[in-house]
């Protein structure tokens, strides 16, 4: 079934069409969420919210872009909203920890001693450093960079998702790499 046929059936609230949509795009949506959020449970929750949003607002999809482009847009918005909400939550948690102490401290120690991870400590450390650097990028740079590097989308596809010109996307990705480079160099020089 083509995306156009799928869209028409979704607008008609065809449950089978919805199931087909989910099966077709769940990996793509989940992967995009994971690349932005870097947490599998959060990625799953947000991916589900994306499909709920699609189910509820399919009638607003004007089919001027591809269905996958529209899905990516919803995914990015939901993921960024989740990150923004978490920023406040993390701020409150750190204030609470300051006054009350870290309730999860013992739990963390237990987890570290588990040592079931297939990855070396070096890998995990480097992952943290890179993720921190990516998270510190301005939002648009982070989105463009992540879509290009981890979701392996072309610049053209990214222009459609972010509704920007090709030059803007190229500039965003270039600046993201310059910023990442700077942050990594500063980290390792110090």
């Amino acid at each position: 079934m083509t995306d156009e046929e799928l869209t028409l059936r979704l607008i008609a609230k065809d449950n089978l069409a919805f199931r087909e949509l989910v099966q077709k795009y769940q990996s793509m949506v989940y992967k995009a969420c994971y690349n932005l959020l870097n947490q599998s449970q959060d990625a799953e929750d947000i991916a589900q919210e994306v499909f709920i949003e699609v189910f509820e607002s399919i009638s607003q999809f004007r089919q001027q872009s591809k269905l996958s482009t529209w899905l990516y847009r919803i995914t990015i918005n939901k993921s960024l909203n989740h990150l923004r909400k978490n920023k406040w939550k993390n701020l409150v948690n750190s204030i609470e920890q300051f006054f009350v102490g870290d309730k999860n401290a013992n739990l963390e120690i237990e987890d570290k001693s588990a040592n079931d991870s297939p990855y070396s400590i070096d890998y995990l450390e480097r992952g943290k450093v890179l993720q921190t650097a990516i998270d510190s990028l301005p939002e648009n740079q982070k989105i463009a960079f992540t879509l290009n590097k981890f979701d392996e989308l072309s610049y053209q596809e990214i222009t459609e998702i972010m509704d920007l010109s090709l030059a803007s996307v190229e500039s965003l990705i270039h600046r993201a790499k310059i910023n990442l480079q700077k942050k990594l160099i500063d980290y390792y020089k110090n």
Binding site: Y30, E44, I52, F150
Partner: protein, 161 residues
């Protein structure tokens, strides 16, 4: 300063640092790559820094993204179903709250109207502190004399008690 000028000036370490990711991704021109190759073979400090940055930058290329939960669709279906039920529940609760607010508002309006009407009918109580209180009382009392001597004032009656 542009890359060209840096290259000419021979400021190689800074030049390298500005192009590290491009070098790692092989997205810079061949001449630049060759320059960087040459410099890294000569400068231990830059080589060490380059190795650290390269390993970190490429770390996510080795990661495996977890598979989608096999129960993803059934969990989604369940969420859609319970979302509908939750919405109905929320609307019901909202209606109840609105009713309580409306009832409270009505009572408040009723009491306020009563007070306003009462004040406008009987004055603001200024009559009670009116220096001509005795006259007023006499006027009211004259309608309700309990004794035959109609000339006896209310004050006299009270004082006789």
């Amino acid at each position: 300063m542009s890359n060209e000028k840096l290259r000419e000036a021979g400021m190689n370490c800074k030049y390298i640092n500005r192009n590290l990711i491009g070098y790692i991704e092989r997205s810079i021109p061949i001449e630049l790559q060759e320059d960087i190759d040459k410099h890294l073979s000569e400068c231990l400090s830059c080589k060490s820094l380059f190795e650290e940055v390269r390993k970190t930058y490429l770390v996510f290329d080795e990661r495996t993204i977890p598979e989608v939960n096999p129960f993803f669709y059934s969990k989604l279906e369940h969420k859609l179903r319970t979302k509908g039920q939750k919405e109905v529940q929320l609307v019901t609760e909202l209606v109840w709250k609105l009713r309580s607010v409306a009832a409270t508002a009505l009572i408040f309006v009723g009491v306020s109207m009563g007070v306003i009407i009462g004040k406008s009918l009987y004055g603001s109580g200024a009559a009670l502190s009116n220096p001509n209180r005795a006259e007023i009382l006499q006027e009211y009392a004259s309608e309700y004399y309990l004794t035959d001597s109609g000339e006896e004032t209310m004050n006299a009656l009270i004082s006789n008690e």
